[in-house]
Structures are given as C-alpha cells and as structure tokens.
Symmetry: C2
Subunit: 322 residues, 2 copies
C-alpha cells in the first residue's frame, strides 16, 4: 500500500461511524457499528478494535499500514491525554479512552470533542474551504459549535470552548435548557427549539397551517415550519424571523470576538437552505462590525454525516504535523 491511511471515528450514543481516510481527506471506505452502552460503555474499545482489524485484513493490509485513529467523542474530555471525565450518552465515567483504545488496537489514538471534529472536517474538505479562522455551528436536536482559530481547534481552559448553543439569548423568563440555565440559544434555534416556539404560538395563531401538521402527526417539526413558511404561512414565517434574529445576533456577537473568515452552518436545520440563510445573513449584517462582516462568508455545511469521520482523521494528521 503506497498511500498512508487513517481511521476517522465519530462516536455517537447510538452508532459509531467509522471511515478509512487517505491523507488528502478522501474517504476510502466507511461503515458503522452500533454503540454498545452496556457495561458502562467498556466494550466499545474492543468493538472498535475488532471492526478495524476485520476491515484492514479484508483489504489485505497490515495494521501498521494505518497511521492511527482519530476519534471524536462526546462528553467532557481531557484533550491532552484522551481521558473522558464524563460521557452520559455512552456511559463512560473517568475512562482512559486513548490508552484503552491504543492498547486494544496497537495504533496511535488522538481524541477530540465530537463538536469540534465536524468543524475540522468542514474546514478540510467541506464548506470551510480551508479557512484558518472558522466558526462551525451545527443546528440539530441541540446546537453544537466548533471554532478553528489560526488553523487550530479552540479548546479553552477545560475543553468547553465553542459552546455557542449556551450563549444566553433570552435574559429573563427564557425556556429551560438541558445545561441547567434558561434562555440559551439552543432553546431557540435548534430543531427542538424551533419546534417548541412554533407549537407554543399556535394558540395565538389559529389560522396557521401548522395546526394541520400538529393534527396530522401530533407534533410540529422544524421542517414543518420551513415547509409552511415557503407556502406563505404567516406564523411559520414569524417563527423563522424569531429564530434567525437570535441566531444571527449570537453569531454576530461571537464573530465580533473571533473574527472568522468563514461561518459554516450544518445540522438538520441547515437543510432549509436560503430560507434560513437569507434572513440570518441580514441579522448578522445588522449586528456584526462592518470589518468583521466584510471579512466573513456564510456557507452551509457540505459534508453531511461524513464531516465527523473526515475531521477525526484530519486530527491525526494535524497532531503528527505539529
């Protein structure tokens, strides 16, 4: 084998996404295995090791044809030594992921926060276009954030950097957030937040088409909001106005501090495309400093579910090049 390969892993609470990635960031193979959260997640490393061994052997490669493993993991992580303090979804508590995975695979392992690997992937091969100052925001069930500054991931003092979802958007009487605070951006501009706001306003908007969605399915999704808005529904359009106001303001405030050249929006909500991006850019322009605005572009994430595994693999090359 002439090209060196790396394994990129994006570890979620349900599925472990895995890929073989070459040094140019191309996915050579990708697959997934279920996340075994039994036994406090202590089978996971062995499952990963077995799966890699099988893939590598099937290709007729040797273990040492692989440069190593980059893995994005959830929870609170010591990035220096790959130690997981706490990862609720997976069951880990004070677990030396890096050491365990290295001993089970015989490969070098680099661990990173899962919120950051998508940013790294998008920077390397996606909408980030190799921008060395990048903010990546994932609008999904929650809101994830990753910041790349001067080409490196911002970790902060204890690995918490990039928590844009927990910027306070509503100062008084905001909705409760999973983090324990109230009024966080995540309670507004995540898929869950959009659904909540849309549903809560239905009583005051009896003519809204969203009532029909609620009656049909028992709930109103973020997707419903964008669909009905496109058909001219007044309340659905108002919901988009509300959420892009808070999201645009938070991004502008963050951009005044980070001064990114590129702002990448990903996650399920970003599938709304221009319906989301057009009002968002308008609000951003209102609250970002003129020079900050001049220096930055918006883009929708382009790698979809592959961002994590590509970013994880990149992580390994980065560390090696340091």
């Amino acid at each position: 084998m002439t090209d060196r390969m790396s394994i990129g892993i994006d570890l979620g609470g349900t599925t472990i996404k895995m890929a073989i990635v070459d040094r140019n960031g191309n996915i050579v193979d990708k697959w997934g295995i279920p996340t075994d959260t039994s036994n406090n997640g202590r089978n996971i490393s062995q499952n990963i090791a077995d799966s890699i061994k099988e893939k590598v052997e099937n290709r007729g490669w040797k273990q040492n044809d692989i440069d190593g493993i980059g893995i994005g993991a959830p929870g609170f992580i010591n990035m220096e030594n790959g130690f997981i303090y706490h990862a609720v979804n997976v069951g880990w508590e004070n677990y030396p992921l890096k050491d365990d995975l290295e001993s089970k695979t015989g490969l070098k392992v680099v661990v990173e926060n899962d919120a950051n690997i998508a940013a790294l992937g998008e920077m390397w091969k996606g909408a980030g276009k190799q921008a060395s100052d990048l903010i990546c925001i994932t609008l999904g069930t929650g809101i994830g954030g990753g910041i790349i500054s001067n080409g490196t991931i911002l970790h902060g003092a204890n690995g918490m950097a990039g928590e844009i979802g927990h910027i306070t958007s509503i100062v008084e009487d905001g909705a409760p957030c999973n983090c324990g605070k109230t009024g966080c951006l995540e309670t507004i501009a995540s898929a869950t937040g959009i659904s909540r706001i849309a549903t809560e306003g239905l009583e005051e908007n009896p003519a809204s088409m969203l009532h029909k969605k609620l009656n049909e399915k028992g709930n109103v999704s973020a997707e419903d909001v964008f669909t009905c808005a496109a058909e001219g529904d007044e309340w659905a359009n108002k919901v988009i106005e509300i959420i892009t106001h808070h999201l645009g303001l938070a991004i502008a405030n963050m951009a005044n501090v980070i001064n990114p050249s590129r702002i990448v929006i990903g996650g399920g909500v970003s599938r709304a495309g221009d319906q989301l991006m057009d009002p968002l850019k308008k609000v951003f322009g209102q609250f970002a400093l003129p020079r900050v605005q001049e220096g930055s572009d918006f883009a929708i994430a382009s790698l979809g579910n592959d961002a994590g595994v590509i970013g994880s693999a990149r992580l390994l090359f980065l560390k090696r090049n340091d």
Copy 2:
C-alpha cells in the same frame, strides 16, 4: 551586557510610551515621548529611532545589544507584515510601519494591535498569571479587548478578534456607538457609557447625590457613580447594577465560546475594585456554563500603564520563539 533586552512600545495618539524590558519581563527603564501627528504621522518612526539611540548610547550599550522592538499600534493592521491600513488618531494611512521603523532603527520590529499588547503584558507579568487562555478587557473611554488562546493572541481573519466592546447589549433603541452600530457594550460599560447612563437617569432620580456632582463640575463621571454608590446613593447603585448586568452577560457569553481560565479587567473603571467585581462575578455566574465558570477566575489588571510596553516586549520574544 549579559542580558538581552528588548524595546517595548505602546503607541498612543498623544504619547509614545517606551521601555527597555529584559527577558524576564522586568522594566529596566521607561520613558515617553510626544506623538507627533503632523505630516500624517510620518515623523514618528524617526522620533522613536532617535529616542532609542539616545537611551542606548547613554547606557553605553550598542544598538545590537537590543533584540528588537515590539510595538503596539492603534488602527487596522496587517499583523503579518506590520502594515497599517488606517490609524485615525496617529494620521497613518497605508503606512508600512514595520519596514519604516526597521530601516530607521536597524532593529527587528514586530507590530501588534494596541488592544492586544495589554492582554499579553498582563498574561506575562500581571494579573493574567501566565494563563494560556485569557480574556483581557480594558474599561476606559472605550472598551478594549484582547484574547489569548492556547498561549497566542487571537487575531481572526482580518485582525478584528477581541472586539468585546462591540458585542450588542441593547438590541433595540440602544445608544449610538462610535463604530456606527447602536447598543454596543461600549455604550454602557465604558467610563463614557457609565457617565452617560448615570446622567440620563438623573431627571427620574431627583434625590440622587449625583445631582450635586453635576452641579459642582458640570458632569457626572464613572468615578462619581462608584463614590456615591459607596455612600449608599440608590441611583448610583442602580447604575452599577445596570452596567454589571450587561458587562457580566457579555463576558459570560464570550466565556462560553472562549472558555478562558482567567478574565482580567483593566482600565480606569477597574479602579472601582470590588464595587465592580462583586456584582460582575454574580452576573457572570448566572450566565456562564457551570464548567466554564469553574474553570475561570476574575482578576483586576495589575500592571496599569506598564501593561502595554511589557506586552509589546513579550511580543518580540514570542515571535522569536515561534
């Protein structure tokens, strides 16, 4: 001379502060010369060169006993090549500061934004206590901000990173800011902002002691607000509550994104000490994520006017060590 020395320069619109700084960050000598803004500031480099030459010769040193010059300059700067696009206070427009100063002094020159050198100085020798993730906020006539992440200054895509003063605090009908926006933090928590808020509320607070200050001097200063608050004045205390609310919220939101280990508050307003810091920490605690809060300490800047020259000198050592 056994110890290598550097020149640290903090260039302001009125005075050029200069110091000889050793490799441990100790000031060996410091002095100032007036900023000659005539001729579009084109005499400044020669004035600096002459002043350094005189100091060095008086000490019996040779020019090459000096490692070089670190200089913090105002305006929009290309940090890579030390080119000043625009520095209103000094008169520079498209001016190659680094090249000009190097040719006039024969010394290596490193140029940095003036808002960042104070952060670097405080990190190195002051209240920053060598924290590698640091936010430094200067509450003066305006609000300056410098962010150090992973030991290096955050510049962003076009040198605008750290503009915490232009985070939008009041979304609707905020006071106009010098930047062209409205409702910026600078319109609230700078000395100017505090004075404005205190004065604007006097009509509705006829019993406030601040009326006396206004009658005596024709204005109400930020210092007056803290003095009267300490004496129990209700409106003065309310003003402190307002400004620490907005400042604490902005810092918490920024900290959720940057995750600093240390937050240093400097500038004239910081002389209020605990009167400022106690309510500020309380608001911060309300809006920062628990782990962000755990990981960070507040401190008042300790180097005063020396932060800039010390930080500038550090800049040179940093670049050389890169």
